[in-house]
Subunit: 352 residues, 5 copies
């Protein structure tokens, strides 16, 4: 939400101006460069793009940039790789909608990383941009710390297809690990919804409405990002670009399947929450009805009785039965009979 | 639901790693091999794929694998039939969305079997995968026990077209029996909804809301699987693959009709439940209104009367009528008149 | 609903087995044969298909079969007209979704007849199947009694285009008369909704909720069948089949218009019902609010007064004004003033 | 609504029979004939179509028929202009869905005129049909009185393009004036919704629910007709017919824009009404909560006090403080303290 | 809303009549003319179009007209640039739906400017029309004051691509700045929704429902305009017109992305509001339940006690314990025990 606000700062500036629209300055920028081929890999940290040497033949590279504040480096990257000004602007404007754009010999992908803070259970959103060229992927993100470490490990250890496949497969691997994190969040929400459901099974109506509201808030937050991610995966799948190899398309298809699956799961969860909420309201109504019923029973029994004892508390000189030795017991007996009659009637009405 | 959780265990692993993502180990794996042609059939249980002999000319086969824990056998199958690594991975990952995928000369189908536990009325979900080749169907499932016995019987007895038709028809027969089980579940839910409706007809409002909630939960659970099954049937119908014969396509079309019908039935059931729920809430409101009305009537009648008798209970020395011999009867008469007047007014207001 | 249950009996049987999935046996089967051309017509009742003689040149025929229990006759028809086994199976399985299917030189149509029982206002559903060949229509229905008599009359009397047109026009006429019956039901529901609306106009909130629920149930029941009927009419309209003549297509188009109109009418009716239901709930809330207001007014006035008279009913030896000759009148006057003050305050608050 | 009922009278009649399905007989039929070219115009009233003389070269005509009861004239028109029987049937059946149909060299348009009765604020619906030929438009309506007078005036006065353009432009002008009347109704509803909104702004919750219900009823009524009118305008726009000139298509496009705009306006109004309704319910709940709060405060304060005074009204011989000269004042003081304590507590709870 | 009303004034006039359909006269009309090329620019204010000199070769122009009341000038513009009558009519009719229309060598765009009044938080809507020719953009607006100043500044200062690019880029820049203002409004609404959400986090349920209603009103108002703006941007993107350069299309695409993003944000906000509203209602129910519970507890405890003390206030001559010295203490003790018993029972029921 915070980022939406910042956009106003940019209102009316000419498109293409490089102004960082995003959160507060995230310290200094780190640029890591992975160079790998099926048999070897190197990992460097660059402080200046002038240190960037040409790519060895047959190798793939991942230029992994963390932090967008050093605009100098961004400019250097823009010039070094001849990137379109609008592309660089989009990188800096960190509240974009996930999308794929084709530039000449370049594919530009904007995605959203979601992470669930394990303690506060708050969902953190960060934008990440990818530039895919023939043998290189450049990634841009705003804050240090991301969900991409498993991919870095796989480059280092050489497990799986990653080091043998092209840069397009690296892009897939990065997007896949991002989408996997969506799964984690949805799973966690699913667990909590299940807990609520089990509570209801054990003791119907035993739901905390504010937990439901909070879970729904989180589902709204995730589903907001999953729709454009699904479109993105779909577009990557059908894109008539030479940059994405035929063999990689099957994996992109898989990616799209995952986003569809997440979207359907979210839809199901929302229905489950709606169902739980109905349960809750039904229980609240039931209980409030019982309380009113009790009030009515007590009142209906005792208000007439109190009236009767009030009658015999009047100070008239001439009242019947007052002086009879059985008057008191007669009245008490009558009241008992009345009371029992009403109880019987309530039971007949199934209120008791 | 349980399976969703397990996926997190696989996060960040390279795609293609064979790790069984699913429920707890389901004991040992059974591999049955059916070989049949129009006039004969054999049924073997294989303990090792090395025992698998080449397929006789003109025969069709069903390799029916039950249990995914012996990865050795899965590897053997993968090598023997030259299956794509991603396909084998999908077989092991038992929380996939139903789908059809075409590989070279291979069709891969992921479906979900639903079974209603007859005692607990809980819906059990199990993933089943099919590999269709020219003259063979390979099926993979996680747990022993399935809904496919009717097809096995038809192979054994040779009834219907099954033994005369190709492997594509076997695939259809297997999917058909799976979809038939969806029907059974929806029918059972339909019966219970009808029972509820009949209850309402007899005694309006006599609905148990928690039964409605539970039925809706189950409809949500089924409808979650029916949408992808519908897509699956639709894709099988239009797939430009040589593996599915023209004559079988008509049956696939039928399959699609069934899934559409189930989906529409579920939609209708949900509307009926919503209608029933409205009925219930209306009844609860009506009853709670009646209770409050009773409370109001009793209070409105007796509170003023109690006030009047209170007046004559005051201990003032000088009060009118106290010493008159008709005072008491006058007051009682006045109270009776008041009471009757209010009853008349309530009847006029149609509260009684 | 009843028919859905029966399908379970067929689970696992090979597709193509002729088992009648439907209601209880409907007595014996009647087969009527209408042969007509622009100038003449004959009407026979066949007991055996062996009695079926070849069709005269230039004549059209309607083989009108009522009752599906005599499977012998169905088999004879199947052989005589060389019908696909799956088609015959669909005829017997009377809980199909309306659909159109093309077989070689044959068009197969499954439709649903709806009738409103004039006394119980219950909607009865019956499946009817049509087979269209070059110069013949064969119709299959389960129970005697249908809505097709107007078409039979038109054949007998030779009114309209019917006897002059081909078999495709007969099919249209039959479907048209079925869709006309949908209109009747929707009209009847519309009348009842209008009655409810008029009631509300006269005396807002004067609605019976259970009538609303019942009307909605019936709308759900009709709309369940109208969607597939609309698809059916749409498909007949665009079907690239030689069996349906160009001049008849305009009529088929009309049929589709009717189904669209019915669907829109149902949607409008449902909105009207929702609006009426809102009215009802608003009224219930209003009334329940008035009841509570009365309770509050009575309580607020009399509870303090009762407290005051209670004070002077205490038996203390030393209390002020008890012995004054004006004490009683003073207290009564004070209570009167209090009562008037509160009434004034309630009027100020617009509660009275 | 009334017209829907009449359709049942036609059930089972052969399509093409000329029976007037509509409201009660609308007196006699008027046929007016406008003949015009850029420089001149004549206006005749025909009592018989035999009086119809051939169209002068280069002139355009509008045959404006009012009232459908004289079937003789309709037959004459049918024969004179060689109209398709189904077209004439559609003219007489006045509960058709708006549509466009192409016949040979003829375009047939069915539309709905809506008028708001200025006094009763009731929406009146009337069907109007148009036949477009090369140089003539024939219009059929059921009741005298319509919304087309502005077009008649423009023909008479020769303002605008009308007399210069072809018959297709006349059709556009007629449809345009009809759609303009939709605008008027929607505007009037908009005004009333705005009034309600302003009321809410001034005094939140000050809404009359039954006005909301009535406005929604009217929106439902209009929106029912606007969807098919939108389709109609869309089809006129893309129709591959020579009858509609290229230059007129731009106007047809405009017509479609208007219908889309009306539909969106209706959707917005419905959302506004839903919002207002929420406001209303919130206010009712708020007030009913306040009433119950008052009841609770009064009861909570006085019920314990009444109990205390009741204690000292008991007739025991031996009770403490009864004979003390300060007993009464002590008890009154205690009750005062209790009362103040509770008031303080209510204020603490923010109930006061 | 006000503008919708005015359209009725135009009902029945021939299309193409130049009548200003809009708000009250906005004083005099200003016409500013910007002429620029990459290196220079001039800015003139024209009082008469006769002062308009031919465009210098290679320069681009923006004719910026403010106020639509001087129809003379509008006519002059129409003649000078040979604009279609329908186009000019659309300019004057200020309640059009946003749209793009192609005329010969002319592109006509109708858009809506939204501004949030910073003090009253009311959304103001104004229509703006653009005419794009080869090297000129003409803009028409009704009221002085707009959101386009940033673009004027960029022309004056020569920042960005604006002065180097063609007239199509100017059109894009103008639309972009309009859409940016939508962002501002949505951001402001987002801030207020967030504030409400934070309130709920801190003190659940303490929300002002009427703020929710008002925010929803504003979201409805914005979303009403965003749908046609999205269509407009989409059409500009795919328009097969030579007027929009290939290089500008990428920017138009960006514009469409923004509108989609705004639409999704609005949808999310509406869901958040619905969630908040649920929270609010749940809280109101909870509180009202607590109030009723308190009433019930007080009544249930004291009504029976008051009855008991009433008994001993009766004036019978013969009542037990009245004369016993421990009678009073016995009764008080009994009442205390009863009271404690009920408190214990309430605690057991978790009402306390």
């Amino acid at each position: 939400m915070k980022k939406v606000k910042k956009r106003s700062a940019k209102k009316g500036m000419p498109p293409g101006t490089l102004v960082h629209v995003g959160g507060k300055a995230a310290g200094n920028t780190t640029v890591r460069l992975f160079t790998y081929d099926p048999v070897s890999f190197t990992e460097e940290t660059l402080t200046d793009l002038d240190l960037y040497v040409d790519q060895p033949e047959g190798a793939r590279r991942w230029l992994d940039m963390d932090g967008l504040d050093t605009e100098r480096i961004l400019h250097q990257i823009g010039q070094r790789f001849d990137l379109h000004p609008l592309l660089l602007e989009d990188v800096l404007n960190t509240d974009h909608r996930p999308k794929v754009e084709e530039y000449q010999e370049t594919l530009f992908v904007v995605a959203k990383m979601l992470r669930l803070d394990p303690e506060t259970e708050v969902i953190q959103v960060e934008q990440i941009c990818f530039v895919l060229r023939q043998d290189i992927v450049i990634s841009f993100q705003e804050h240090p710390g991301d969900v991409l470490d498993p991919v870095r490990e796989r480059i280092r250890l050489g497990t799986g297809r990653l080091r043998r496949a092209g840069a397009d497969y690296l892009l897939y691997a990065l997007l896949d690990v991002i989408v996997d994190n969506y799964f984690l969040i949805v799973e966690r929400l699913g667990e909590r919804i299940e807990q609520l459901e089990r509570k209801v099974m054990l003791k119907p109506g035993n739901v905390d409405l504010f937990t439901i509201q909070e879970l729904r808030s989180q589902l709204i937050a995730v589903s907001r990002h999953i729709t454009p991610m699904r479109e993105l995966a779909g577009r990557l799948n059908i894109l008539p670009s030479d940059l994405i190899d035929r063999s990689t398309r099957r994996y992109m298809n898989d990616l799209q399947d995952h986003t569809v699956y997440i979207a359907e799961t979210i839809a199901t969860f929302r229905e489950m929450l709606a169902n739980l909420e109905n349960s809750y309201h039904a229980m609240v109504n039931l209980r409030s009805g019982q309380v009113i019923k009790l009030l009515t029973i007590i009142s209906t029994i005792f208000i007439p009785l109190t009236f009767i004892v009030g009658i015999y508390g009047m100070n008239f000189d001439h009242m019947p039965w007052l002086h009879s030795p059985f008057g008191f017991y007669g009245v008490v007996g009558f009241m008992l009979a009345l009371c029992l009659g009403m109880l019987f009637w309530f039971r007949h009405k199934r209120w008791l």
